[in-house]
Amino acid sequence: MSKPSDLVQGTLDLLILKILALQPMNGWAVNQRLRQVSGEVLQVTEGSLYPALHKLEQEGWITAEWKQSENNRRAKYYSLTRLGRQHLKKEAANWNRLSAAISHVVQLEEA
């Protein structure tokens, strides 16, 4: 696993929340979407997705229900709760501040 992706691991929660904010999804779909949107840059081990989902559920930010999937099988669909939306907003703002600050530092020219 390459170094850059480690940095992003900690923000997995944020990514999941963001993806679920767009539409309710099952675990497999979240996995696919994650790879898709990050252009395969973010190396999320498939398995680590599930503990993260369960944690978010226990925190009350997402909620789950069993539904028919598009291929007509039973799958567990996660969606954002109201609390989750608030949390996402806060975390996204944090992230923007942090990333802006970091890119600012990184772009400093050596004098």
Binding site: G27, S48, P51
Partner: protein, 960 residues
């Protein structure tokens, strides 16, 4: 966490806990779905189905690990591991069932007995009264010293007068009552002889003022309660019955209302039955009958009509009434007290008026008492717990003693449990080291060991529940027994107590078991987890040994158990010696072949307004009946002697203050009324003068016989024959409420007898002063005790007596029919009970302590098997090995005794008042207790020592 989030998270956690299987299934399905999708994708990419599955599993990173991670996220992992720990603990404990069971039982015993005592404390001291708005209730109190008559009554403590007022005082306050400040009411207790139709009962009567039931807001079970109109003192007085008395003694008969009942012969009308569970707030006991306070005067002097009683003797100035108030909301207790201060001051003046003259005339008024009395302020204290605010003082000592005893038992049980765990964790050091080596954290190991302790403690707590109910039942039945009871226990108001575990008591029980688990479990768990795994695994090979610190700790625990054993053994030994002394003491009369019984014929109806003629006619009638009984019983074949006395020997007492010319002290004397020839029949030697004869009757000169002690006290040892004695003058009749013979005539002393026992065998400092008069000179002989001497077997004599009385057809039950030996036994049953109680605690404490000693010694021998083997291989003899083990025990014992004996002796001082001519520093008892403990310790150690001496050196060394 915000409350809003709980909305989501709490149901999820609950679901994880209670729908475990469903949650697991969901997890399974979810990951399975993912796998299948991945496999399909892989196949689409061109992999074989085998390959696709393998790749999918690898991508997921191990199915079970992921599941475990997800479970961890459910937030109940600690709960799941706790559950696992406990399941594990159960399995471990079940491997040593006997030892675990012993520990659980002893913990149960300790926790159970403590819970029972806590239940007493809760019921007596903590629970508010079962009345409406108990917080509005208050108790009146004033300083007690002056009320005690300025020291006029020897032997009464001023404190016992703090809460009582006189009848007149209360009436004065009641007259100034303002309902919008505070309602006032009064109650007091008297014993009463109650007759309904042909049945007769000896009852506790509650005397209440008219405002009592309105103040308590009591609704009757039946009929009505007493009201202010009942307390005016005119007409036929009203009476209420207690629920228990009505239900149990009268069979709950519904036709009881408006029936006449006689109390000491005086007629009352039943107007109602008190509700179930009603008890007086002061006495804390359910009364049998409840009577208007206004009738207290005539009940205090039963059968003495008004014409014989001077106004000054009507008891109205004696302080015996408790006063309570219900204070209006918004008024403070201080304001209420200030409001009634004026009326109280006026009542004090009345009291001084009433007392001063009378006490001065007998030289017992102490100057300055007036000022002391006037200075005392009326105060109201919190009455929400009723008497318990008062009882707290009285029941403190007995409860502390009981708490101490059960606390010690619990401590011993805890020491045993700690010892067991220390031994077990030492035995498992190897296993724990492997666990640690394989990655178990220290907290994992502590948690595992600690949960074992908690399992033991909780099991102990569960066992404790039935044990505590049994203990409570035993204690309460002991407390409410009518037989003479341990004095120190009698101060606990038992009437209110019930055998049940209320919620607070149950929580106490559970809390206590968790606390004990924490106390005895923490050290062993931490000690075991401190061990460094590499050291253990390097140094040990199959054999186990324990850390030095742990071994020392275990011996210290056993030593503490020895200390406690000796602490309880010494008082028990003192009780035993005291009891033996009581059983062998010379009663001063011939008790062999002597049978006693008591007759209490129904009282004739009377009223305070009765005339002298009626009184004399009644007296003659009852004397005639008793004389008839005498002649019938004397005619029984085999009866060689017969006599009678009013007060049963060793079964009752009356004390009074005799007025003797020239005597200025304040000594009291016991009193009894006897038949002619009493002393000859009872084997009490007559020293001077004569016995009573048939001629000493209502028409003859009033005569008395006194005992040696009386002569020493009142006549300085000089011959008293022909001297005069005042029986009814001055204070005597009113203060001690005796039915005086002839009431006021001067009485001549005609004889002196040797001292013998009066009311109690247990009397320090010699015999009491006693005065005897002939019962034939008393108008009011309402009961009589007969003494029959016969060489026939007692059962036969009993039957003969019953037969003889049946012939008289008197419809009078024979009471207290027993031999004199049984009467002596009964008289010391009090001490027997205390000894039994102490004995039970001691046996339990010692048995548990010896179990601990055995455990430690047995374990120490196993630990030293190798060492013993080497010793034997180089020539040690089995006897030498035994001595070596015993020496170890002796050291523990010696340290325990050195620490325990002083503690035991100082604790014994608490029980000194219960002992009979035994000093608390009795060297024989200390020696005996030490010897008993030594023998028990030897017995506990002998088996391990014997086993040590049987170690086969070859086997012991081959273990390596």
């Amino acid at each position: 966490m915000s409350p809003k989030r709980w909305l989501y998270t709490v149901p999820l956690r609950l679901r994880s806990i209670f729908r475990r299987r469903r949650v697991e299934q969901d997890l399974d399905d979810e990951l399975q779905y993912h796998l299948e999708m991945r496999i399909e994708e892989n196949i689409a990419k061109g992999m074989s189905s085998e390959e696709a599955r393998r790749a999918a599993l690898i991508a997921l990173g191990g199915l079970d690990q992921r599941k475990e991670e997800c479970r961890d996220m459910q937030g109940i992992d600690w709960l799941v591991s706790l559950q696992r720990n406990f399941r594990h603990s159960f399995r471990r404990l079940a491997k040593a069932p006997v030892l675990s069971l012993v520990v659980i039982l002893s913990l149960g015993l300790g926790i159970g007995s403590n819970t029972a005592i806590f239940s007493l404390i809760y019921q007596i001291l903590l629970r508010p009264l079962p009345v409406e708005n108990p917080d509005e209730l208050a108790l009146g109190t004033t300083p007690g010293a002056a009320k005690a008559g300025g020291g006029a009554f020897p032997g009464t403590s001023p404190d016992s007068y703090m809460y009582v007022f006189s009848y007149l005082q209360f009436r004065e306050l009641e007259r100034h009552q303002q309902q919008n400040v505070a309602e006032l009411a009064a109650s007091g207790f008297k014993s009463a002889e109650v007759a309904l139709e042909n049945q007769k009962f000896f009852c506790g009567a509650l005397m209440v003022s008219g405002g009592y039931f309105p103040l308590m807001r009591t609704r009757p079970h039946m009929g009505r309660t007493l009201i202010p109109a009942d307390d005016q003192g005119d007409g036929i007085p009203a009476a209420m019955l207690g629920y228990g008395f009505w239900k149990n003694k009268l069979g709950g008969r519904p036709d009881i209302l408006n029936k006449p009942i006689r109390i000491f012969g005086q007629v009352f009308t039943v107007v109602g039955v008190a509700p179930k569970g009603f008890c007086d707030m002061i006495m804390g006991a359910p009364p049998d009958v409840i009577l208007p306070l206004a009738t207290a005067t005539s009940l205090s002097n039963p059968s003495i009509p008004k014409f014989m009683m001077p106004e000054s003797d009507n008891n109205s100035h004696f302080s015996w009434i408790y006063m309570m108030a219900r204070i209006k909301r918004g008024v403070t207790r201080e304001q209420a007290a200030a409001f009634y201060a004026g009326a109280y001051a006026a009542s004090v003046e009345q009291q001084i008026q009433a007392w001063k003259g009378r006490l001065e005339s007998v030289g017992r008024w102490k100057p300055g008492t007036e000022d002391q009395y006037r200075k005392g302020q009326l105060k109201f204290i919190d009455g929400s717990h009723g008497l318990n605010s008062i009882a707290k003082e009285g029941s403190k000592t007995p409860i502390i003693i009981l708490m101490l005893a059960t606390g010690l038992v619990l401590f011993i049980a805890m020491a045993n449990a700690a010892n067991l765990l220390l031994a077990r964790s030492a035995a498992r050091r190897g296993e724990l080291a492997i666990c640690a080596a394989m990655g178990a954290s220290r907290s994992n190991i502590v948690g595992q060991l600690f949960s074992e302790a908690m399992t033991l403690a909780i099991a102990g707590g569960i066992v404790a529940i039935p044990l505590s109910l049994a203990t409570l039942h035993f204690l309460i039945s002991m407390l409410v027994q009518t037989a003479p009871l341990a004095d120190f226990l009698r101060r606990i108001p038992a009437g209110l107590l019930t055998v049940q575990l209320e919620w607070p008591v149950f929580l106490y029980c559970m809390g206590l078991s968790l606390l004990t688990g924490l106390l005895f479990g923490l050290y062993p768990a931490l000690a075991a987890a401190r061990v460094a795994p590499n050291k253990v695994l390097n140094q040990e090979s199959g054999q186990f040994s324990e850390a030095l610190g742990t071994a020392r700790m275990r011996k210290a625990l056993v030593c503490a158990q020895v200390v406690i054993s000796i602490i309880v053994l010494i008082p028990t030994g003192l009780f035993l010696k005291s009891l033996v002394k009581l059983m062998t003491v010379d009663p001063g009369l011939r008790t062999e072949n002597l049978v006693m019984f008591r007759l209490l014929p129904n009282r004739a109806e009377w009223s305070p307004e009765q005339s002298r003629e009626m009184l004399e006619a009644q007296a003659k009638q009852s004397q005639a009946f008793f004389e008839q009984v005498e002649s019938e019983v004397a005619a029984i074949p085999g009866v060689t002697g017969l006599t009678s006395a009013k007060m049963p020997l060793l079964g009752g007492f009356t004390y009074f203050h005799p007025a003797v010319e020239g005597y200025t002290g304040s000594s009291s004397a016991g009193y009894n009324e006897i038949a002619p020839g009493f002393f000859r029949q009872m084997g009490i030697p007559l020293l001077l003068g004569r016995e009573f004869t048939e001629h000493d009757n209502l028409t003859g000169q009033m005569v008395a016989i006194v005992n040696e002690q009386f002569v020493k006290t009142f006549f300085a040892g000089q011959n008293p024959i022909g001297r005069r004695l005042g029986l009814g003058k001055g204070m005597a009749s009113t203060m001690y409420q005796i039915n005086m013979p002839g009431i006021y005539g001067p009485t001549e002393i005609v004889g002196v007898v040797k001292d013998s026992f009066y009311s109690s065998i247990k009397r320090e400092g010699g015999h009491p002063n006693v005065v005897y008069t002939p019962w034939r000179q008393n108008y009011f002989v309402n009961f009589l005790t007969f003494y029959v001497r016969s060489a026939l077997p007692s059962a036969q004599v009993f039957a003969q007596i019953r037969n003889a009385l049946q012939k008289l057809n008197a419809n009078v039950p024979v009471e207290d029919l027993r031999t004199m030996e049984e009467q002596v036994e009964l008289n010391i049953s009090n001490d027997r009970q205390i000894f039994q109680l102490a004995g039970i605690v001691t046996v339990i404490a010692m048995a548990l302590a010896m179990m601990g000693l055995y455990g430690v010694m047995a374990y120490s021998v196993i630990r030293r098997t190798r060492e013993i083997g080497i010793r034997m291989a180089i020539g040690a003899k089995p006897a030498g090995i035994r001595r070596m083990v015993l020496r170890e025990m002796m050291l523990i014992l010696a340290i325990g005794l050195v620490l325990g004996i002083p503690a035991g002796l100082s604790i014994s001082r608490v029980v000194a008042s219960q002992l009979f001519s035994v000093s608390t520093y009795d060297p024989f008892v200390v020696a005996g207790a030490s010897l008993a403990l030594g023998l028990a310790a030897f017995a506990a150690t002998y088996l391990p020592a014997w086993r040590a001496s049987r170690v086969d050196p070859l086997n012991a060394l081959r273990c390596e």
